[in-house]
Every structure is written in structure tokens, then in C-alpha cells.
Amino acid sequence: MAVMRTAVIALAVLWAATLLGGLLSGLDRRLTARLQARRGPPLTQPFWDVIKLLAKERVVTNPWQAFSPVATLAAAATALVLFVCQGDLLVILFVHATGGVFLVLGAMASPSPYSQTGGQRELWQMLCCETLLFLFAGALYLTTGSFRVSGVLALPEPLLDRLPLLFLAFLFALTVKMRKSPFDLAGSHHAHQELVRGVYTEYAGPHLGLLEIAHWLEVMLYLAICSLFWATNVAAMILLPLAAFGAVIVLDNVAARLTWRWMLGRGWAAVFAAAALNLFWLKG
């Protein structure tokens, strides 16, 4: 019975997260258009894109291009389900990173230099955002004595009070994850001129569609983690991720893309140091 209940919950969560993630992606495109004095596509646009992609012809150059999207989507879905089950945040992050691993493997398996360079950059981007999330997990442990998500929900005060620097670090990670400027080196929506589409170049048709859904789920996981920063009341749990989401889109439209040297050397190093400082402060 317990297994059945978990399965039903998991399916419901995934269904809802896919819908919400798609809508958020539509909102993103619409907000961006507005910031550029355009009207932009309807909110449902991402769904039409994905349906179209899923119905296109299946063409691959090697088996990993078909293998990877399934694995990436599955990893994103598993991580989200684990989060909803209020599991161990470390395990959630490990599972989530697995998705990135397969995405990169599939991209590197093609002889196309665009795809390979995109894969390499994706690895560095993963390094940037995963480390910051692991620091958040550490902060979770230092405040609650446990790595479980359930521990945060029992806290009397919002974590944000004690983790301001880590929240900034989280915004950095969210920008990277949402593939937004200035930290969008691997496969941003605007990278057509330089790297074609970087890590996504060789994924086409249904495979690209699956990756798009996986990306929605990943962004949903990040936003869910964001809600933990203010987990004391429901309104804040919804508003804080939305505010973070909006901030990232505004940043995307006012910032130009950086090179990887900058992203690693200045951006990530500074943010990582700030987040680490926050941890020491928490303990001290």
C-alpha cells in the first residue's frame, strides 16, 4: 500500500511540476519580450514547442543521443520526487547531478565541435552551481542537525535571516541553471551565433523535447530549494522563488554574457567564498 501511495504521489507531483515548469518557461519568454518592448508568445508556447518536438522525426548520429535524454529526464524526475518525499538533500543533489552527467556524455559523444565545446562548458557550469547547492545543504545541516528537507520545515524562523550570503550564491546558481546571462556559456537560448546551441546542438526532435521537459523539472527543483529559504509560511514559500525567478530574468536582459574565465575566476570564486563565509558565520 505504501508503495502504491508513493507512486501516486510521485506521478501527481511530476505531472504538476511539468505543467508548472512549462508555464514558468512561458512566463519567462513573455517577461523577456516585455522587457524588450515586444508582446511575446502566449504562456502556453513551451508546451506547443515540446509537443511539436516530440512528434518530429527521430534522427541520431550515435546511440548516446537517445540514451542521454531518457537518463537526464529520469534523474530530474527522481530528484524532484525525492524532494517532495522530504528526503536527504545530499542524495537529491547527487541524483540531480547525474542528469547533467548524462547530458554532457551525450553531447560529447558527437564529433561536432560545437556540441563538444558545449559539453565541456556545461561541465564547468555544473561545477559552479552544484558546489553552491552543496554548501546550502551544509548550512541546512548546521542549522537543523540533519540533511533532510523535513528538518527545515520544522524551523520556527526563516533560514533567509541567517543565510543572506548563501541566498545570493543561490541566485548565482539559479542563473546558471536557467541558462541565463551572464552565466550562460554552455547552451543558452541566445548562443546561436557562437556555439550554435552548445550542449544541445546534436539533440534533435523528440530527444530535444525530453531534455526540455527535464530542464523544466530541474528549474522546478531549484525553485523548490529556493522556497526552503523561507519555509515558515506558505505565501513566502511561493513568493520568494517567484521573486528569485523574476530577478534572474531581469538580470538576463541587462547583462551581457561573460567568458568562462570570468565566470569561474571572478564570479564563482567570489560567490563561493561568500557562501563559505556564511557557513562559518552560522557556526560561529
Partner: protein, 643 residues
């Protein structure tokens, strides 16, 4: 019963080594190696835990080992003289003098005869790793060395010596993990040093000999430090019983000095920074040597020693220093691995890095951490052994160790490449063993923020260099067109068994972890600041529970299996359909990775990985990293001696 099996596990490899030295026929040698390995593996599985045993054998074995010690040191002294290496001469002469003095005047007076063997969950795990993983590597070596010698075009086969030393090595490791007598431990410790010298220098080229001598002097230093530690421990408590010493050693101030020496000896043996040079140099040897040194023997002796003595360290400043030194090695070696384009060096740095993590486990000093360290030893041995065998086979084929030359290996050697990718994945992806072990370390070590930061960075670096290596092997390969390469049975079966082990062994992890904890908990007395209550309970089926979190192993494993099946089906279906050409800006040619260049000639599209050589290059950083590591060791020393 356990003592008989223990004796068999130690004596049989020695006898087999002798026999191998005497046979010149390759069929006989194959038969000998196969039967010995099978026998050892069976014995290691039959062996059961027993607290202390083997008293009745002491009368025979003790003098044998003492004699062996002198012989061993004399051989090493002779080698030092022959190669005119003053450092080795000095170190071995020092050991010889000290050992003779200890043997004839100090030990002779004290209470003698600790139980010869002590088999607990720790040594049991190690014995199985040594016999099964090490054994498989020996089997794999049979066809490998044939090809190796064909390639070298030797007049007279040198395989008898090679296999003799391999088998001897297994025996030495078995002795090292089973013995309960510290002086005997020293003998086996030194024996592995000599074996590693012989194996590294096997090809007898100038380079090989130079690297072998480096290994010999560094480990000779380790041996001297160990001997000093034994002297110190003996003068404190007048016994050589390891189980007893673990319980009584330690204290404050100068009393910690022997333990510091012990740890330093373990550091040299495990090639921790700043002593990584010998292990990196050991890469000149034939692949089975590297595989054996890295996965199941030699370097694991050092971490085993540290984990064994972890209860004595628990709660001291020395342990804190050990955590930081281990954590630093974990990060620094991983960062150096990122800057490497030599595949074997990437593997070497990764070994050093993982061993650093295990040392840190010994420093954290809770039963949970030490058990995590043991799990890491086990899973690292299996996956790394597998990777070494694959990369070595690939190297034999492409005649280069450069990752960029191995680019697209899956087109030439699909089986080897796929197994390498699988092995790399088992090192970084849940639910496999290495990640499980790392998760346990994360949970056990999160109280120390500096260490936690090191863990986070080191783990992320690890993911980066493994995915990059795996992706490069897959790059641009026309996998569909490639045919599975032919492999001798003795190459294929060890690889298959290790691959299955790397994937499936994690299912046994909860049970093993529980058993290790049960064995370890009593060793850590009330002195540990460990929270009351069971640190680890077998919770609901298939979920690993710790005080800090939960790892849903069974569900993750089932999910991973389902996803793998689904994804494989998708890949198969896609490959049955239309196949496209890679995107090369429309300038594709008939060759998959060539574009149409000037004069319509095909030009290869060359992409190299980001190695960040200017940022993370070995040349630039080795000196600074070594300085920092030495500083941390001094800090550790200071921490140990602080009153």
C-alpha cells in the same frame, strides 16, 4: 579454522611465487596462477571473523618472519648499493640497525607472543579485496604480459619473475591485513615495498629503474618511520599486540609521537601529498602493476593502517590535523587531475585523491566514518581496478596515454571503451558504491566546515574529470559501425566479473556497513564524542539511515536499473531508425569528424578538452601543493604533540 585459513592465505602465495620462478613454460604458469588465484579467492570467502587466534603457530612463524626481515632489509641494502643510491643505503642501514637492536635486546625482554592473527570485519573486507580484485588483476595479467613481451621483443621471457612478484605481493598483503603482531606487520609492510620496487622496475629501462628507486626510497622512509613508531609504541606499553595497542595507544604530548610516526608511514605508503611522486612514477610499469598498486594492494596498506588505528586517534588534535591533511589531498589531487591530459596520471591523481578522503575518514574517528572509509576502499578497488585494466588495454592498442589520442576510442575498441565509461560512472553516479561511501563521509564530516568545503570542492572536481574522460572516449565514434574487438578469455572474464562487481556490489553495502559498525563500535570506547544510541540502524528495507539523513539505496537502484533499460531501448530504437551526420556547419564530408576545407580537402575538426593547463597545470602547482601539504603535516605533528 580461521588460523589455518589465514596461514594458507599467506603461505600459499609464497609457495606459488617460488613455483612460478621455477617454471619456464607459459602453460604451466597460467595453470599455476589460475589455481592459486581461485584457491585464494575461495579461502578468503571461507574465512570468518575471530578475535585472536594462531597462538600455536607462533613458534614456527615468528622466527621465520624475523629471519625474513633481515633478508629483506639486506636485499634492499644491496639494491641501494648496486644502484649507488645513498638515500636508500642510509634508510635501509638505519632500519637494519634499529631492527636488529629491537629484535635482539628490546623485544626479547618483553612479554612475547601476542595472538598471531586477528580477523575482524575490517581485515575480512580487506582480505577479500586483495584476493578477489587482486586475483582478477593477476588473471588479466596473463594475456597482457604475453602481448607486452611480444611488443618488447625480448629474447628471454621475464614473466616468471613478474608473476612470482605479483603472487608474492598478494601474500604480503594478506599477511599485512591478517596479522595481529606489529613486528610481523612491519615485515609485510616492507615486503610490499620490495615487491613494488621489483614490479615498477620490471621493464628494466632507465626510466623504469629510476622510478622504481624513487618508490623504494620513499617507502623505505615509510618503513623507517613505521619501525620508529613500533619502537615508541612498544616502549610505552611493552606489547606488540595490535588489537591491544589500538585500545591503549595515545595520550597527550610526546606520547602521541609514535602515532604521528605511524601516520606518516601510512602517508608515504599511500602516496599522499607531498609523497605522491612515487605513485605517479609507478605508471611506467606494465598495466597489471599499476592496477594492482592502485586498486587492491600497496596504497591500500597505508589507509588500512590508519583506519585500524583510528580508535586510538579519536578525539585528539592529531585526528583533526589528519582530517585536514586528508581533505587537502582530496581536493588538491582532484584539481591536479583536472589539469592532466595523460589518462594514466588522471587515474593516479584520482587514486591519491580518494585515499586522502579515506585518511580523513580515519581522522573523523567515529565508527560511522571508519566504516565509510572501509566501504570506500572496497568500491574504489573494484572500480579503479577495472578502469586501470581498460585504460592499460587501450594504451597497448593506441600506443599513447594522452587522453586526446584516446578520443573516440569507442570506434576502435567498443567493449573496452564502454567498460571504461561504466567504471567511470560507477565512481561518480548514485546509487553506486563510491558515491554511497562519499555520502556517508559527507554526513559524518559535516561538523567540520573546512573539511566540508574540501569535500564539496573535491567531489565536484572528481565528477568533472571523470565525465570528461568518459566523454572523450565516446567522442565522435561511429559506434554502430564498430565491431566488438576480440579479447582473450582471460582478458574478458576478469573485466566482466569486475564490471558486475562495480555495479552490483553496492547492494551488499548496507549489510557490510552494519557488520563493520558492529565490529568497530566497541573499539571506540566512551572517549569518543559520539552521540548516544545506534548511529546507524537498518531502517526500512533498502534504506541506509544515519543520524543525519537517509539514502534510499534499494529504490534508487531499482529506478536506475529501470531507467537504464528504458534508455537502452530508446537508444536501440533510435539506432534502428534514420542516422544523421553530426553538425559541422553544413560542410560535412564522408568522414564523420572531418569538414570540407580549402581545395575541397577534408580537414579534421579538432576540439580538445579544457584542461586549464595554465590554471591547474601540474608543473605550476606541484611545488606549492607539496609545500601546503607539508605544512599541513607539520600542523598535524604539532597537533599531535600539543600537550
Amino acid at each position: 579454522m580461521p588460523e589455518a585459513i589465514s596461514v594458507v592465505l599467506i603461505i600459499v602465495p609464497f609457495l606459488a611465487a617460488l613455483a612460478s620462478l621455477l617454471t619456464r613454460s607459459s602453460a604451466c604458469r597460467s595453470f599455476l596462477v589460475i589455481t592459486t588465484v581461485c584457491g585464494l579467492a575461495t579461502c578468503s570467502l571461507l574465512l570468518q571473523a575471530s578475535p585472536a587466534c594462531g597462538g600455536k603457530w607462533a613458534g614456527i612463524i615468528a622466527p621465520l618472519i624475523a629471519g625474513g626481515d633481515f633478508l629483506l632489509l639486506a636485499v634492499m641494502f644491496f639494491l641501494g648499493c648496486r644502484y649507488r643510491h645513498p638515500l636508500i643505503v642510509m634508510l635501509t642501514a638505519g632500519q637494519l640497525a634499529l631492527f636488529a637492536w629491537l629484535e635482539f635486546s628490546v623485544f626479547a625482554g618483553g612479554s612475547h607472543g601476542p595472538a598471531l592473527f586477528a580477523v575482524d570485519a575490517l581485515s575480512l573486507t580487506m582480505v577479500r579485496v586483495v584476493c578477489i580484485v587482486g586475483g582478477l588483476i593477476c588473471l588479466h595479467a596473463l594475456p597482457y604480459m604475453q602481448a607486452h613481451e611480444r611488443h618488447l621483443q625480448l629474447d628471454r621471457s621475464r614473466q616468471p619473475q613478474f608473476f612470482a612478484v605479483l603472487l608474492l605481493f598478494l601474500g604480503a598483503m594478506n599477511g599485512l591485513v591478517l596479522t595481529n603482531h606489529l613486528a610481523h606487520f612491519y615485515f609485510f609492510f616492507e615486503l610490499t615495498t620490495l615487491c613494488s620496487f621489483l614490479l615498477i622496475g620490471h621493464d628494466n629501462t632507465d626510466e623504469a629503474v629510476a622510478k622504481a628507486l624513487t618508490a623504494l626510497w620513499m617507502n623505505g622512509l615509510g618503513g623507517l618511520l613505521l619501525l620508529l613508531a613500533i619502537w615508541g609504541l612498544y616502549s610505552q606499553s611493552a606489547m606488540l599486540d595490535m588489537t591491544g595497542l589500538v585500545a591503549t595507544a595515545g595520550g597527550h604530548g610526546a606520547a602521541m609521537l609514535p602515532l604521528v610516526m605511524l601516520l606518516l608511514a601510512a602517508f608515504t605508503k599511500s602516496a599522499q601529498l607531498p609523497w605522491q611522486k612515487w605513485l605517479l612514477g609507478a605508471m611506467v610499469a606494465p598495466t597489471p602493476t599499476s592496477a594492482l598498486l592502485h586498486s587492491s594492494t600497496m596504497v591500500k596498506a597505508g589507509v588500512y593502517l590508519a583506519l585500524r588505528f583510528a580508535p586510538a586517534l579519536a578525539g585528539t588534535l592529531l585526528a583533526q590535523g589528519l582530517v585536514l591533511a586528508g581533505g587537502f589531498t582530496f581536493v588538491a589531487a582532484a584539481a591536479l587531475a583536472i589539469g592532466q591530459r595523460n589518462a594514466k596520471k588522471v587515474l593516479a591523481y584520482s587514486t591519491i585523491s580518494n585515499l586522502g578522503l579515506i585518511f580523513a575518514c580515519a581522522g573523523i574517528g567515529t565508527p560511522a566514518a571508519v566504516a565509510a572509509g572501509m566501504l570506500l576502499i572496497l568500491f574504489h578497488a573494484v572500480s579503479k581496478g577495472l578502469l586501470f585494466l581498460c585504460v592499460g588495454t587501450a594504451e597497448q592498442q593506441v600506443h599513447s596515454r594522452d587522453i586526446e589520442v584516446m578520443r573516440g576510442l569507442c570506434a576502435i575498441m567498443p567493449v573496452t571503451a564502454m567498460i571504461s565509461v561504466l567504471a567511470a560512472l560507477t565512481l561518480i553516479v548514485p546509487p553506486f558504491g563510491m558515491l554511497l561511501g562519499k555520502w556517508l563521509v559527507f554526513e559524518a564530516g559535516a561538523d567540520n566546515i573546512v573539511f566540508y568545503l574540501m569535500l564539496v570542492l573535491g567531489s565536484s572536481f572528481t565528477v568533472l574529470y571523470w565525465v570528461r574522460l568518459a566523454g572523450t572516449l565516446l567522442a565522435g565514434g561511429e559506434t554502430a559501425a564498430a565491431r566488438a574487438e576480440a579479447q582473450p578469455l582471460l582478458t574478458r572474464w576478469p573485466l566482466a566479473v569486475l564490471a558486475c562487481g562495480a555495479v552490483l556490489l553496492v547492494l551488499g553495502a548496507p549489510a557490510l556497513h552494519g557488520r563493520l559498525l558492529a565490529a568497530l563500535a566497541p573499539l571506540f570506547g566512551p572517549m569518543t564524542a559520539f552521540p548516544a544510541g545506534p548511529p546507524f540502524a537498518a531502517g526500512r528495507a533498502g534504506v541506509l539511515l544515519t543520524a543525519q539523513g537517509a539514502f534510499p539505496l534499494a529504490s534508487l537502484f531499482v529506478a536506475a536499473a529501470l531507467v537504464a533499460l528504458l534508455a537502452l531501448a530508446a537508444a536501440r530504437q533510435a539506432m534502428a531508425g534514420k542516422k544523421g551526420r553530426a553538425y559541422l556547419a553544413g560542410a560535412n564530408t564522408e568522414l564523420p569528424d572531418h569538414f570540407r576545407g580549402p581545395m575541397n580537402r577534408p580537414v579534421r575538426a579538432v576540439v580538445e578538452n579544457y584542461y586549464l593547463a595554465p590554471l591547474l597545470g601540474e608543473k605550476r602547482w606541484t611545488r606549492w601543493v607539496n609545500l601546503a601539504a607539508a605544512g599541513l603535516l607539520l600542523f598535524m605533528l604539532g597537533g599531535g604533540l600539543w600537550p
